[in-house]
């Protein structure tokens, strides 16, 4: 059994593929290259004496107050003070906030920092990241997001909406296109402070771009047909007589998790969709799926002499 585009209801706007697209050659940063950032944040976070511990693909420098994780495959770092939260009895943080509609979830509201605080935190973070030498030209300030916290009564009714820890998010673009996936984000985590807000940790995942190659791309329809046809779950649910709908398609560049080796950042589709039984009586038993797919086939990479396992297999 196979599945074709005509078997699927596509309600999403389909992105146009150019006839050729860049593929970005990337390199991991070494521990020595990250040492400046590690020492800088370890001091701010008051981690004190650390002891090296090797676990899987990471070097952890652990202390009584927190840890530094250096992900060897990518040169990414996670540095956090893990005992700062102990002074709080729950998730609530005393930020200066306003309640607003959540643009990602129109039926929901959320708490956001007032603009002056948002600006202050973004500038504080930018300055820290620049001093640590981790902010490259591909990074851009995305937002300051507050963890959304709610207290519920015994019946489950929301009796209070509060702000939690703040995350200042820097994300990445290449050639004007979003780099998605777990390996392209630089975050700083904060608790509110009196004069300066208190940094509780950072996560920096990015591989440095060292070159650009070009690959030829298939037509958009052909590219989407190819990835859909290889999706075993969609084939399975077509056999089960489900209606399959694609609700969102984004063309992105894909960055692997920080614990994986990666030499090329490559074009991919992020697709969100749903599968619902055709039997109307069972309409509540459908599900949604979210998946990344390679936008180009292995043949396109082979023609450009570019080879890697993640360019030829499912993501």
């Amino acid at each position: 059994m196979t599945i074709k585009l005509s078997d699927i209801d596509i309600v999403a706007k389909i992105p146009e593929l150019a006839s050729t697209m860049p593929v970005f050659e990337v390199e991991r940063s070494s521990f020595e290259e990250r040492k400046k950032a590690i020492d800088f944040f370890a001091e701010i976070l008051e981690l004190g004496k650390t002891v090296p511990v090797h676990v899987q693909n990471s070097l952890h420098l652990v202390s009584k107050r927190g840890e530094i994780q250096f992900y060897k495959p990518s040169g990414s770092i996670w540095i956090s003070n893990t005992i700062l939260d102990d002074k709080y009895k729950d998730e609530r943080r005393d930020w200066n906030v306003i309640e607003t509609k959540d643009p990602d979830d129109p039926g929901n509201s959320k708490l956001v920092l007032v603009e002056t605080e948002r600006k202050k935190l973004s500038e504080q973070t930018k300055e820290l990241f620049q001093k640590a030498d981790i902010l490259t030209e591909e990074a851009y300030f995305c937002d300051v997001e507050l963890d959304q916290v709610a207290q519920l009564d015994n019946e489950g009714k929301q009796i209070g909406l509060f702000a939690g820890e703040a995350t200042v998010k820097f994300l990445y673009k290449l050639d004007g296109i979003q780099v998605d996936g777990p390996g392209a984000k630089s975050y700083a985590f904060y608790n509110p402070g009196m004069r300066e807000h208190e940094l509780s940790g950072i996560f920096h995942a990015w591989r440095k771009v060292v070159g650009i190659r070009k690959i030829s791309m298939p037509g958009t329809e052909e590219a989407i047909q190819r990835v859909i046809a290889q999706d075993r779950e969609l084939i399975l649910y077509k056999e089960k007589q489900y209606s399959i709908k694609i609700t969102d398609i984004n063309l992105v560049y894909f960055s692997l998790p920080p614990f994986k080796y990666q030499d090329y950042i490559f074009p991919a589709f992020r697709i969100i969709g749903s599968a619902v039984p055709k039997d109307k009586d069972r309409k509540h038993e459908g599900f949604e799926f979210a998946r990344f797919y390679n936008a180009a086939p292995p043949e396109s990479y082979a023609k450009a002499d570019i080879y890697a396992d993640y360019l030829a297999t499912r993501l």
Partner: protein, 242 residues
């Protein structure tokens, strides 16, 4: 007695879902203080192991902590249905089912099911509160989550960060700090997900039957049985960016 760990998974064509759940059990099983005693896949993921069933011992309550890979079930076009059910091989487990997690043992429930812990004022994640018998936490997602090759490590990452301090021999002069279990979930999700996805959890505070107050906010995974919040309870939910 060692703590017991369980994993449940439905592949639905993607073997990474099996690996995601099993990596949780396998990682904890490396510790002498944990035993991975329940592992059920595909057609062996049964509703009766999650829902009160007369004359039957639900397998989910034979473990202290568990990880599950299966779909969240709802009408995608109707947000009032989001987060009310997850799939098992013989149907769905719904908030309206009789569920008493922690009746015997379970303290931590975790699942990658899309929108299982979706929360809004009008569709509160408190719909899962009736399932909290002596349960401490439910871990999951407010939004959809991805399934694929790069999420298969999520269960193992969650386990290793939650149990981080337990991998060091006791009695050392130098003992590292540990992650709270909620921070372990957040970290595992940030490492494996797109920034557009939102992690979430629901937790209970309360008194033990003996009247001792239990605050689960800064709870760490321990090898001993923790005090359970069962009386005069309050519930907290949080969500944030992966």
């Amino acid at each position: 007695m060692a703590k017991r760990v369980g994993t449940w998974w439905i592949k639905d064509g993607l073997d990474e879902r099996r690996k995601e759940a099993q990596s949780f059990g396998e990682t904890l099983d490396h510790l002498s203080s944990f035993n991975w005693t329940q592992d059920h896949g595909d057609s062996n993921v049964l509703k009766k192991d999650f829902v009160e069933t007369a004359g039957y011992s639900e397998k989910i309550d034979m473990v202290d902590l568990m990880y599950m890979s299966s779909h969240g079930c709802y009408n995608p076009d109707d947000s009032s249905t989001w987060g009310h059910a997850f799939s098992v091989s013989d149907g769905t487990v719904r908030t309206s089912d009789p569920i008493d997690w922690g009746k015997w043992d379970l303290e931590y429930f975790s699942s990658h099911a899309c929108k299982l812990l979706y929360h809004s004022a009008s569709n509160s994640v408190g719909r899962w509160i009736p399932a909290f018998e002596r349960l401490h936490y439910m871990f999951g997602f407010h939004t959809v989550s991805h399934s694929g090759k790069h999420q298969k490590k999520r269960g193992g990452k969650f386990a290793i960060y939650a149990a981080w301090h337990l991998f060091f021999p006791s009695g050392l002069a130098f003992l590292p700090s540990s992650y709270t279990i909620r921070k372990a979930w957040k970290k595992a999700c940030i490492e494996t997900e797109s920034s557009s996805v939102k992690w979430a959890y629901l937790r209970a505070n309360g008194k033990t039957s003996g009247g001792t107050w239990v605050n689960t906010y800064n709870e760490r995974l321990e090898t001993t049985e923790p005090n359970d919040p069962t009386n005069n309870r309050e519930f907290w939910t949080a969500k944030g960016s992966c």
